[in-house]
């Protein structure tokens, strides 16, 4: 998969919130089980995606954000 600006921005945004180095963040690692993301961090990621990409994400997208790649998929669905 070709890495786009959006991919990189989502990765950096998530890395910042869960406090890991973006370079070492495996985009398929489970954010909860492998990286210790809690529910408030997940909400923060959702709110940051909305702000960064000027989109509105419904609540039912929240459980889908399990990895960086899944977050990228969610973001791409809403970014025009």
């Amino acid at each position: 998969m070709r890495t786009t600006n959006l991919d990189q921005e989502v990765k950096e945004l998530i890395a910042d919130i869960i406090e890991v180095d973006p370079a070492s963040l495996d985009p398929d690692a489970n954010l909860v089980e492998d990286l210790g993301m809690d529910s408030m961090m997940a909400l923060e990621i959702l709110a940051s995606l909305e702000k960064r990409f000027k989109i509105k994400l419904p609540e039912d997208e929240l459980p889908k954000i399990t990895t960086v790649n899944r977050a990228i998929e969610v973001a791409k669905k809403y970014v025009k």
Partner: protein, 155 residues
């Protein structure tokens, strides 16, 4: 929209506030709610007198309102916002998840804090909210905080 007060009122007095938030003396930090737009904003007031318990120790020679108590007032106004914006969320306790706050000026005995809370992202059981605290139209503190409603059975 239903909540613990029935129809959403336009203001709340001290007794109505106590029906929404669980904190009590010496930790109840909202005296009155003067503006309510469910899901849009809530404005609370806290009058600080020289008799507040925390001035005994903060500080003995010069009473200054602790930033932690300003944060508590913000969080409690956030609970009011959340409770009035959501359908009855049941038997829950609201916990602070995160807080990013800047304190711009000291708050003194005799000041009235006006605490305005607006949403950044609100969901059924959690929310990120924005807060601006003013005294006499001067901003004394501002920032973001996150609240989560936890079912009491799960705590």
């Amino acid at each position: 929209m239903s909540n613990r007060l029935g129809a959403v009122p336009s203001t709340l007095d001290f007794e109505q506030i106590k029906r929404i938030i669980p904190q009590r003396f010496p930790f109840l930090m909202v005296d009155r709610v003067v503006e309510i737009e469910p899901g849009v904003r809530v404005v609370g007031l806290k009058n600080l007198t020289g008799n507040e318990w925390f001035y005994q120790g903060h500080f003995p020679k010069k009473a200054i309102t602790p930033g932690a108590m300003i944060c508590e007032a913000i969080a409690q106004t956030g609970i009011v916002f959340f409770s009035l914006s959501q359908p009855d969320s049941g038997d829950v306790t609201y916990l602070l998840g995160s807080l990013k706050m800047r304190f711009l000026e000291p708050v003194w005995p005799g000041d009235q804090m006006r605490i305005e809370v607006t949403p950044i992202k609100v969901m059924s059981k959690a929310g990120i909210l924005n807060a601006v605290v003013t005294v006499d139209n001067r901003t004394v503190a501002k920032g973001e905080f996150a609240l989560a409603a936890k079912d009491n059975e799960a705590l």
